[in-house]
């Protein structure tokens, strides 16, 4: 087993803190995306507190693993995770989306160290990750490249151009993670533009495909371990998540894609999130 019970507990505790920070920062910002960030809190916590080879004090360290966030609108979860991991002070989170902040509404590499790239316009992250992975292989660099994408983003042709390239070049040092939360802006993904069978699409493009519960820390860590052990192919992990995870009023509701909670709602949500600490795991046992 790649991750101990004590580690899982710590990661879950961090995920709970990250969720609370997301709510707080969105309220302070007065705009931004809620469902996606909450849904990806467990995956981000697993990466920054266990999987990634990184150093918050040296964000430009050459041999760090690269994490490319393609669906830039969920960046509140990345900012919150980075702050809790020690990249910058937690209180800076409250500057999200404000004039002069390093925490832009969509992530900008040139403003905050550790972001790896600028995104927001969907569909171009996998290509950039592929460029990094290919370059690393050329130079015999051992670091790994991870690309986080959303499911709505799979509509974009650019994703499939990249998927074809990665498959053709067998970039096994690249692992993609798809936030499969089944929502996008106009509704459920399967009603806007059906993606299924997503698994066989990636398989047909030459990828090894894993489906995991995106709220099960152990399963996430195990899936990444499996991806690292495979040298013939790139791996994509389809992380099945609940949009808005942790706040029952937001969960599964696509209308929470792009709006922040009000101050009153936030008070209720934060209470619910804090009472959930420790219970998150139980649901998936």
């Amino acid at each position: 087993m790649s991750v101990t019970d004590a580690q899982v507990l710590r990661i879950e505790t961090m995920a709970a803190k990250i969720r609370a920070s997301i709510i707080e920062m969105l309220v302070a910002a007065g705009s931004g995306h809620t469902a996606g960030p909450l849904g990806m809190a467990d995956v981000f916590a697993a990466f920054y507190f266990h999987i990634l080879n990184h150093n918050p004090k040296k964000p430009e360290w050459k041999d760090r693993d690269r994490l490319v966030l393609s669906n830039g609108h969920i960046v509140p979860v990345r900012y919150a995770t980075m702050a809790h991991a020690g990249y910058f002070p937690v209180k800076e989170l409250l500057t999200l989306r404000k004039f002069g902040s390093r925490l832009q509404g969509h992530p900008e590499r040139t403003r905050l160290p550790g972001l790896e790239t600028t995104s927001g316009p969907l569909g171009s992250g996998l290509s950039q990750a592929a460029g990094m992975a290919y370059a690393a292989r050329m130079d015999n660099q051992k670091m790994r490249v991870y690309c986080f994408m959303s499911d709505g983003e799979q509509d974009a042709g650019n994703i499939w151009e990249a998927a074809m390239f990665v498959g053709a070049n067998r970039l096994s040092n690249l692992t993609a993670i798809i936030d499969r939360n089944n929502i996008q802006i106009n509704g459920m993904t399967e009603s806007v533009m059906p993606l299924e069978p997503l698994r066989s699409k990636y398989q047909a493009f030459g990828w090894h495909v894993l489906d995991v519960d995106g709220h099960n820390i152990e399963a996430i860590c195990d899936a990444v371990d499996e991806a690292k052990a495979i040298y013939e192919k790139p791996t994509v992990i389809i992380a099945h998540t609940i949009p808005g995870k942790g706040v029952s009023e937001i969960e599964f509701d696509y209308r929470w894609h792009g709006k922040p909670p009000s101050a009153q709602e936030a008070a209720v949500f934060l209470r619910e999130l804090r009472s959930l600490r420790g219970k998150v795991r139980g649901e998936h046992e």
Partner: protein, 328 residues
């Protein structure tokens, strides 16, 4: 100098709307009047104001998902079969993402597709630079066969959309997310390619030629200058074809010009006016616009100030143009 942007006085029963709202209104009437009209949307129905059309005419609303390249080229195909397709997305993605598809399959191919670019300009605010499209007017004006319209308020946006549907050829319409004061009325004429003089003066000293929702800031600036010298304000809603006679007329009356746009200065509206004046009537010219920078997160009003686009900066540019003319 930076000062808060003062909104224009509103009529008492008139609520402020965004230009995208005028687009939504026009789509509904077009749905009724022209069965050839269809709407293609890339997962942004609510914010592009195509949702009402979708609900009223579900059979003529086509959802393409987050796929702007497909959006543009599909529309070309629909147009080839006699439909009148409107494609709606954010300007950052359409024409930002799908420029080549627009260039070849719509402009060069001369298909009548109407491209609606929403959330254009810096006033998008907190979303930041990735979503603040400041290059769309230049990109679209460079394309042969393309007509480009940048309405100043919601009323004009509605008229512009109706005019685009009647026009024989592809059209780009630019819209803002933020509400803005009305600078026109229901009765203001809208003729494609013909600029409207909104503020006249008997003996003008400076002509402000403005485009888009910043026209309201130009009018505020003109008011602030009223005691110093005489200013005219020309609303140039059509950037292509540019109303060269209309612009030259006001420029020559005044002898000094200020251009105003929520767009990069290089390759934008100011450049087009400079080209026109440089060719036909060289004179002092000051350009207000974004000077070779990307945007950033902030409130619309913070950003208009940071990027030098608000009324105070327009007034300062007019003073400069006035003095340059006087000292020449």
């Amino acid at each position: 100098m930076p000062q808060r942007n003062v909104p224009l006085r509103k009529h008492k029963d008139e609520k402020e709307r965004a230009t995208r709202d005028g687009f939504g209104d026009a789509l509904l009437s077009l749905g009724e009047s022209d069965p050839r009209v269809i709407v293609l949307c890339a997962d942004l129905a609510e914010s592009t104001r195509t949702l009402a059309f979708k609900e009223k005419y579900p059979d003529r609303y086509i959802e393409v998902g987050v796929a702007e390249q497909n959006l543009a080229a599909l529309a070309s195909g629909f147009a080839a079969m006699g439909k009148v397709p409107f494609v709606a997305s954010y300007a950052a993605f359409s024409p930002g993402r799908n420029y080549e598809q627009i260039r070849t399959t719509i402009a060069l191919n001369r298909q009548k597709v109407i491209i609606a670019g929403m959330h254009a300009g810096i006033s998008v605010g907190p979303d930041g630079a990735t979503h603040q499209m400041l290059e769309d007017l230049g990109l679209m004006c460079m394309l042969p066969n393309m007509t480009v319209i940048n309405p100043a308020d919601a009323l004009e946006a509605r008229k512009a959309t109706l005019a685009a549907a009647m026009h024989d050829g592809p059209v780009y319409l630019r819209f803002s997310r933020e509400t803005s004061p009305n600078v026109t009325t229901e009765r203001t004429p809208f003729v494609l390619g013909k600029a409207n003089l909104l503020l006249d003066a008997a003996k003008p000293d400076v002509a402000i030629v403005a485009t888009g929702t910043l026209v309201s800031q130009a009018l505020i600036a003109a008011k602030a200058l009223a005691n110093d010298f005489a200013v005219t304000v020309l609303n140039v809603h059509t950037l292509k074809p540019l109303d060269i006679p209309g612009i030259l007329k006001q420029a020559e009356r005044a002898g000094a010009v200020v251009t105003v746009e929520e767009h990069q200065l290089r390759g934008g509206f100011g450049s087009a006016v400079a080209q026109c004046l440089g060719t036909f009537a060289p004179m002092p010219l000051e350009l207000v616009g974004v000077s070779d920078r990307f945007g950033q997160s902030g409130t619309p009003s913070e950003l208009l100030t940071e990027y030098g686009l608000s009324a105070a900066y327009i007034a300062a540019a007019a003073r400069k143009a006035y003095h340059r003319k006087r000292d020449a």
